[in-house]
């Protein structure tokens, strides 16, 4: 019963991603690019979800794995013939070797996982703010090294001349792959134990859960998916700079995750897709666009204000995220006529109503400095 219901929970996010990909494939060149970006964002947010959603620990570091994946996949697919001219300071090994775009995605994911694992071994011992800041430090260091060490990359300049092989379909496959991994992980023993530990670390230890180990597993998987997302990103745009995979992307992807609802895969996907589309729509509105009878025409830059304000209000009015951090269970037979992005069924919808008045409810208890109270 749980198993079957669990599987149906994968259907909604998968369908949403597929729908976005297919719609994207049918549009004009520029719009295809936008849709590809949506799907790559979704991949990143899913990567974030695997760690943050399951462990409850905020990490500002996942974008460093995206960065590593992007630069690795980009660098290794530039034909070695041109590398000496455009990247004269590279280590000979990096300059002399190249791989195909597809292989480079494995490279990106593998390096992301490796880096995450190595960073995770010490850092996963930390929790709370200390963990947040330590992972932020990882981001800063990665950014700084990639930006100024021109033996391993382009340094402060753009890495250009990367094959542009990722369109909506490729991005969709990437996002689906990430969603599958995330789904399998969250249903694995490790995933379930980590989610419990998220709720109460002390209680988890009392039932034998090795929190450090499970966090490390999630962090590594998240690193792999983030690296993959980086690989997709660089092959979409054909170039990459360190600024692209730094603070702004970190905040934006985190915001997508939280707006969607960071407790569920469905939330991650919904958040990424919704915020990305909102962004696209608002930018178009800046150029003037008709919404039904209305003619929306925004001043330049206003879209950013609106996007920010919308994200803030979504969090204010739905702090648990649009999905309430719950999975959406789609029952396949009833699927006819229902889009994948539609309402959760009633029971779950009722359950995730925020209840601002549940004062002093069990579970909202304050913490104590003792290990046990």
């Amino acid at each position: 019963m749980t198993r079957r219901r669990g599987l149906t929970q994968f259907v909604a996010p998968a369908l949403l991603l597929i729908a976005v990909g297919i719609v994207g494939g049918l549009t004009s060149a520029g719009t295809q690019e936008d849709i590809t970006s949506v799907l790559i964002s979704a991949t990143m947010v899913i990567a974030l979800y695997v760690f943050i959603g399951n462990s409850g620990v905020i990490s500002f570091g996942q974008i460093s794995f995206v960065a590593l994946g992007a630069f690795a996949a980009g660098l290794m697919t530039i034909p070695s013939a041109v590398k000496p001219t455009v990247l004269p300071n590279l280590f000979p090994f990096l300059a002399d070797h190249s791989v195909g775009s597809f292989e480079s995605l494995f490279l990106a994911a593998g390096l992301g996982a490796l880096f995450a694992f190595l960073a995770g071994v010490p850092l996963m011992r930390l929790s709370g703010l200390a963990a947040g800041i330590a992972t932020f430090a990882v981001l800063e260091i990665t950014h700084n090294v990639l930006r100024f060490w021109d033996k391993i990359g382009p340094g402060a300049q753009t890495l250009a001349l990367v094959p542009e092989d990722v369109g909506p379909y490729e991005a969709m496959l990437g996002a689906l792959f990430a969603a599958t991994v995330a789904f399998l992980y969250q249903r694995s023993r490790s995933g379930r134990l980590l989610r419990a530990a998220r709720e109460d670390p002390a209680a988890a230890q009392a039932v034998g859960v090795n929190i450090h180990r499970h966090r490390l597993v999630a962090f590594t998987i998240s690193g792999a998916l983030a690296g993959l997302a980086g690989g997709l990103l660089v092959h979409q745009i054909g170039s990459i700079t360190t600024e692209q995979v730094y603070l702004e992307l970190t905040f934006l992807t985190l915001a997508m995750l939280v707006v969607g609802g960071m407790g569920s895969l469905w939330g991650a996907v919904v958040g990424a897709v919704l915020v990305s589309f909102l962004d696209i729509f608002l930018v178009d509105a800046e150029g003037g666009v008709g919404v039904g009878p209305l003619d929306v025409d925004l001043p330049s830059g206003a879209s950013l204000v609106i996007l920010g304000a919308l994200m803030a209000s979504m969090l204010i009015f739905r702090p648990a995220g649009i999905t309430g951090g719950r999975e959406l269970t789609l029952r396949l037979p009833r699927l006819g006529g229902r889009g994948p992005g539609e309402q959760p069924d009633e029971r779950e919808a009722a359950a995730d109503q925020p209840q601002p008045e549940q004062a002093l409810a069990p579970g909202t208890r304050s913490e104590t400095p003792r290990s046990e109270t």
Partner: protein, 385 residues
């Protein structure tokens, strides 16, 4: 007459050669680069209107199609893609080679001449983009040229020693000061101290203290007009150090100057045009007046590169008998040697797809007031090889 010839701008060369010449501008109108892209584009559009009013290019109008990249790489690419799919004859990109890369690659891979008005590094060409980079050009000054001109200015002023301060965060400032140092020493100057910082790294006040502790006839600073530059100037002057400070175009503009007239004093800037109402070229003054009228008052002299770039593009199309074929235009642009534009004469070479050879305006800031004080030329740009 092409004024009312508003034909279909289809993809085929034949049709394109009848309709207007479309320049697709993928520029930033939202974020940091709007500050450079906006004025340059506005100047170019004014120039285009004038050309159109005078009958266009071989009877064809010039039309700009402008899209906002918002400085987002994916959008930069998608916007350029759409423009090229829509038949743009020339691609016009953001004034920073790194931010512009996604659009530059779209342009050059589609065989379209790709032009930036004011990129200042030597990267806008094969150095960055390999063979296809043949199609990419910038009408900004290459930093090697600006640095050299700054050294010439120092030498003209009789300054014999210099404290050099370089922002290492971008290639342009690094190249400019590198060129300054090489040329300054060639001209017999001495580098008294050589300081570096990275914009935003928090070390600028240490740099100030070291510079204040080192005697020299001048301070050369290659930085951008972000927070550290005004912090530097305030610190130096606050320490009682009145040494002249000089820098390239990237420190042009009055907006960043500390308001205290004793602080904003004895500062020299070389730039494309004086925006302070006293540019020696009446065409430039007229252009500024026109921009003001449109509410697009320039904040640095860089705007004029926009008009110059358009003039260059038009010249190349005319030399090719109206063809907008990318390769043909590119080889013409590469061959420009002393092309006369509103921003003075510009040259290109296979080594430098970014312009050199201009006559720079020397702006002196005295007691908080910037004014034009003369012209300077680099002679040859410095070569790092």
């Amino acid at each position: 007459g092409g004024d009312d010839d508003d034909g279909d701008s289809g993809d085929t060369t034949a049709a394109a050669e009848e309709g207007p010449i479309t320049i697709g501008a993928a520029v930033d109108q939202t974020d940091l680069m709007q500050f450079f892209d906006g004025p340059a584009l506005a100047a170019a559009q004014i120039e285009a209107e004038q050309i159109n009013a005078e009958g266009g290019v071989d009877g064809r109008d010039i039309e700009f199609e402008v899209e906002d990249t918002r400085l987002e790489p994916a959008r930069t690419k998608s916007v350029a893609e759409d423009m090229i799919a829509g038949g743009a004859d020339v691609l016009w990109v953001t004034c920073d080679v790194d931010w512009a890369t996604p659009s530059i690659q779209e342009g050059i891979n589609a065989g379209v001449l790709t032009v930036a008005p004011c990129i200042g590094t030597d990267q806008m060409g094969p150095k960055r983009f390999g063979d296809a980079g043949q199609l990419a050009y910038s009408f900004g000054n290459v930093a090697q040229d600006e640095g050299a001109a700054l050294a010439e200015l120092a030498s003209d002023k009789g300054w014999k020693s210099a404290n050099v301060v370089t922002d290492e965060s971008i290639a342009y400032t690094q190249n400019a000061c590198q060129a300054f140092k090489l040329r300054f020493e060639e001209l017999g100057g001495e580098i008294a101290s050589d300081e570096t910082f990275t914009e935003g790294d928090g070390t600028i006040n240490s740099v100030v203290n070291r510079v204040n502790g080192s005697d020299a006839d001048m301070i050369a600073i290659c930085a951008t007009t972000q927070e550290d530059l005004p912090a530097f100037v305030s610190g130096v002057r606050g320490g009682g150090n009145e040494t002249p400070i000089a820098g390239p175009w990237s420190i042009d503009g009055a907006f960043w100057l500390p308001k205290d007239p004793q602080v904003s004093n004895n500062i020299y800037v070389i730039t494309y045009a004086s925006i302070y109402g006293d540019d020696p070229n009446p065409d430039v003054r007229k252009l500024i007046a026109e921009m003001k009228k449109q509410g697009a008052e320039p904040a640095t002299g860089g705007f004029v590169t926009g008009a110059a770039a358009l003039q260059g593009i038009v010249e190349a199309i005319e030399e090719n008998g109206g063809s907008t074929d990318g390769e043909a235009l590119a080889s013409t642009v590469e061959g420009f040697d002393g092309l006369d534009t509103i921003s003075g004469s510009v040259s290109f070479s296979p080594d430098f797809h970014t312009a050199f050879g201009r006559e720079y305006r020397v702006i002196e800031i005295k007691n908080g007031e910037p004014r034009f004080t003369g012209l300077i030329k680099a002679g040859e740009p410095v070569s790092f090889d």
